[in-house]
C-alpha cells in the first residue's frame, strides 16, 4: 500500500505572529518555520504503517511519499518528513499564498499520478486554521473521508477510523482509497535521530510547479486587512477566594 502525506510549512507553533502595523498582513520575516504539527502526526502514522508499530503490521505501507506545496524552503519541511521515515518527496513550488482549494486541486493531480491507496493529512494548518484541504480533496476525488482521526486500523481494502467529534468519539469504516485527517491524539511523533536526518538528505525530492498540473492558483478571496485582535483590558489579582466571589458578584456573573 502506498501512502501520500501532504505536509505544510508553517510558523513554528511556539511563536506568536506579529501583525504588520499597516494592516497589510502578518510579518513572518526571520521567524522560525516548522512542519505543521498535525502534518507531523500524519507522517508519523504513515511511517508506523511501514515500520510496524502503533497497531499497524510491518509493511502495511510499502512506500510513504511526502508532498508539499510552497516556496523553495518547503524542501526543509519535506526533509523533516523524510527524517521521520518517509521515502521520497514531491515539492510543488509556489510562491505566495495558495488557497486550500488550489492546494486540493494540486494534490488531486499528484494523486492521479502517484495512485496512493491512502492519503493522510493534518486536520488543520495552524497558520490559516482553515481545516479544509483534506475534505476538499476527498470531494474532488469522490473518495470517502475520515477527518479528525484518533485511531486508524487497516484492513484489506478498508480502514476503520475513530474520529474526535464534538460529543465524543465516532468510528467509521472507509473503503480505500480514502482520505484521513489527523487529530492530536492519533500518535506522538518521534524526534528524528541524527542518522535519519543525515539519511533524509539523500532521499529524492521531485520538484514541480502548479502549471505542470494545470492548476490555476490565483486567489479567490481578497484579504482587505489584517488586524490585531481586540485586547482584553488588564485584570486584577485577588487575594482570596472570598474576594474573588465578591468580585464575581459585582460583575454580575454569579
Amino acid at each position: 500500500m502506498k501512502v501520500l502525506v501532504p505536509v505544510k510549512r508553517v510558523l513554528d507553533y511556539n511563536l506568536k505572529v506579529r501583525v504588520k502595523p499597516d494592516g497589510s498582513g502578518v510579518d513572518l520575516s526571520n521567524l522560525k518555520m516548522s512542519i505543521n504539527p498535525f502534518c507531523e502526526i500524519a507522517v508519523e502514522e504513515a511511517v508506523r504503517m511501514k515500520e510496524g508499530g502503533g497497531g499497524h503490521a510491518k509493511d502495511a505501507a510499502t512506500e510513504v511519499i511526502a508532498a508539499s506545496i510552497g516556496p523553495e524552503q518547503a524542501q526543509e519541511t519535506i526533509r523533516n518528513a523524510l527524517a521521520i521515515g518517509a521515502d521520497r518527496g514531491i515539492l510543488v513550488k509556489a510562491d505566495g499564498e495558495v488557497e486550500p482549494l488550489a492546494v486540493a486541486k494540486i494534490l488531486k493531480a499528484v494523486i492521479e499520478a502517484e495512485k496512493p491507496d491512502l492519503v493522510i493529512l493534518g486536520k488543520q494548518a495552524i497558520d490559516d486554521d482553515s481545516n479544509q484541504v483534506g475534505q476538499m480533496l476527498a470531494a474532488l476525488l469522490d473518495w470517502p473521508q475520515a477527518t479528525f482521526a484518533s485511531k486508524i486500523v487497516l484492513h484489506a481494502g478498508k480502514a476503520t477510523v475513530t474520529r474526535e467529534v464534538d460529543g465524543g468519539l465516532q468510528t467509521l469504516d472507509v473503503e480505500l482509497p480514502a482520505i484521513v485527517t489527523t487529530d492530536l491524539r492519533l500518535n506522538e511523533p518521534r524526534y528524528a535521530s541524527l542518522p535519519n536526518i543525515m539519511k533524509a538528505k539523500k532521499k529524492p525530492i521531485d520538484v514541480k510547479t502548479p502549471a505542470d498540473f494545470g492548476v490555476d492558483t490565483a486567489p479567490r478571496i481578497k484579504v482587505l486587512k489584517t488586524a490585531e485582535p481586540g485586547k482584553r483590558s488588564g485584570g486584577i489579582k485577588v487575594k482570596s477566594a472570598a474576594e474573588l466571589v465578591g468580585k464575581l458578584k459585582e460583575a454580575g456573573v454569579l
Binding site: 476527498a138 465524543g168 489584517t226 486584577i236 468580585k247 454569579l254
Partner: protein
C-alpha cells in the same frame, strides 16, 4: 439573495449554534432557509421553523443522513445550491467535516470560522490561533462559510416558517458508520454553556480532575472543559478540549484551574466575558488575560471557593 443555513441538531432538538448561524446569515441580507438533515428529525425540523427570521425549513430525512456524515451531506446540499447564493455551516465537527466537500464540488473557496459579517461579501475571520484577524472579500458567485457560533447572538424563537421536505440521498456511500461513544452528561453543553470550569495539567490524574472540578461545575451549573495537556494525559475526554484545535467557547464566566494559558488554549476562550484563573505560578501567562487572578494552589483554593460560593448563596 437566498442563504441556506445547515442546522446543528440531534434529530429532536435544534442546537443553539443554529440560531447563532441564522443571525450571521441575516447579517448578509436576503432570505434565510434552514436545512435539517437527519433521520426521524421531524421534531428538529419543527423546532427550526420557530427560529425568528427563517423563511422556510428544508427537511431531508433518511437512513443515509442518520449520522450526518460528510458524503451524504455533500450529495444532499450540492444540488440544493442551484437555489442559493450562500450556504452557512456552524463550525462544529459536523460542519467542518462537510462544508469543504460542498465547497470543492461547487468550485468555491470556503471561508472557515467566520466571526464577523460586514456585508454580503465582506467577512471577518481569525488566523494564527486568533492572533491576527483578517477582513476578507468574497466575490464568488456562491459562498460557503463555516461560522463560529460563539461570535453571534442567537436568533430568537417565535417564527413560524413552513417546512418543506426534500429527498435524502440514496447512496450507497464509501464510508459507513460503525459505532460511537458519546459522553453522557447532565451538565450544559460546553460550547453553549453560560459558565465553564476548565482544568489543566496541574490536576495530575483523571480522578483528581473529576474530584476537584465536577463539584465546582455542578455548584456553578457550569460545563467542564480542559486544556490539551489534560486531554492528552487522559485526565479528561477529547470533547472537553478548549482551544485553537479544540472547541471555542465564550461563556459569561470561564474558570481556568491549573492551566498555564498557552496561545493555543487562549484561542478557545479569550472571548469569555469574565475570566478567572487559579494558578500557583504568578508568572503564568493566563494571568495576562484573566479578569480575576488568584495565585494559589488549587488544592486549597478550589475548596475555599466552594465554601465562599455556598456562603454567598450560590
Amino acid at each position: 439573495m437566498a442563504i441556506l443555513v445547515v442546522a446543528e441538531h440531534d434529530n429532536t432538538n435544534v442546537k443553539d449554534a443554529t440560531h447563532k448561524v441564522v443571525t450571521a446569515a441575516k447579517a448578509m441580507g436576503g432570505d434565510v432557509d434552514v436545512l435539517v438533515a437527519g433521520q426521524n428529525a421531524g421534531a428538529a425540523a419543527a423546532a427550526a421553523a420557530k427560529i425568528e427570521g427563517v423563511r422556510k425549513v428544508l427537511h431531508a430525512d433518511g437512513a443515509t443522513l442518520a449520522k450526518q456524515m460528510a458524503e451524504p451531506l455533500e450529495a444532499l446540499i450540492v444540488p440544493l445550491m442551484s437555489g442559493y447564493d450562500a450556504v452557512l455551516f456552524p463550525a462544529s465537527t459536523t460542519g467542518k467535516n462537510a462544508a469543504p466537500r460542498v465547497a470543492a464540488k461547487l468550485d468555491v473557496m470556503q471561508l472557515s470560522g467566520v466571526i464577523g459579517v460586514e456585508s454580503a461579501t465582506t467577512f471577518v475571520r481569525p488566523i494564527y490561533a486568533g492572533n491576527a484577524i483578517i477582513t476578507v472579500e468574497d466575490n464568488q458567485a456562491k459562498k460557503v462559510l463555516t461560522v463560529q457560533p460563539t461570535a453571534f447572538k442567537a436568533a430568537g424563537e417565535g417564527g413560524s416558517a413552513s417546512v418543506e421536505t426534500t429527498a435524502a440521498p440514496a447512496g450507497p456511500f464509501k464510508s459507513a458508520f460503525v459505532s460511537e461513544e458519546m459522553a453522557k452528561s447532565d451538565r450544559p453543553e460546553l460550547t453553549a454553556a453560560k459558565r465553564v470550569v476548565s482544568g489543566g495539567r496541574a490536576l495530575g490524574s483523571s480522578e483528581e480532575f473529576h474530584r476537584v472540578l465536577d463539584p465546582l461545575a455542578d455548584k456553578l451549573g457550569a460545563a467542564v472543559g480542559a486544556s490539551r495537556a489534560a486531554v492528552d494525559a487522559g485526565y479528561a475526554p477529547n470533547d472537553y478540549q478548549v482551544g485553537q484545535t479544540g472547541k471555542v467557547v465564550a461563556p459569561e464566566l470561564y474558570v481556568a484551574v491549573g492551566i498555564s494559558g498557552a496561545i493555543q488554549h487562549l484561542a478557545g476562550m479569550k472571548d469569555s466575558k469574565v475570566i478567572v484563573a487559579i494558578n500557583k505560578d504568578e508568572e503564568a501567562p493566563i494571568f495576562q488575560i484573566a479578569d480575576y487572578g488568584l495565585v494559589a494552589d488549587y488544592k486549597t483554593a478550589v475548596p475555599e471557593l466552594m465554601d465562599e460560593l455556598t456562603k454567598a448563596g450560590v
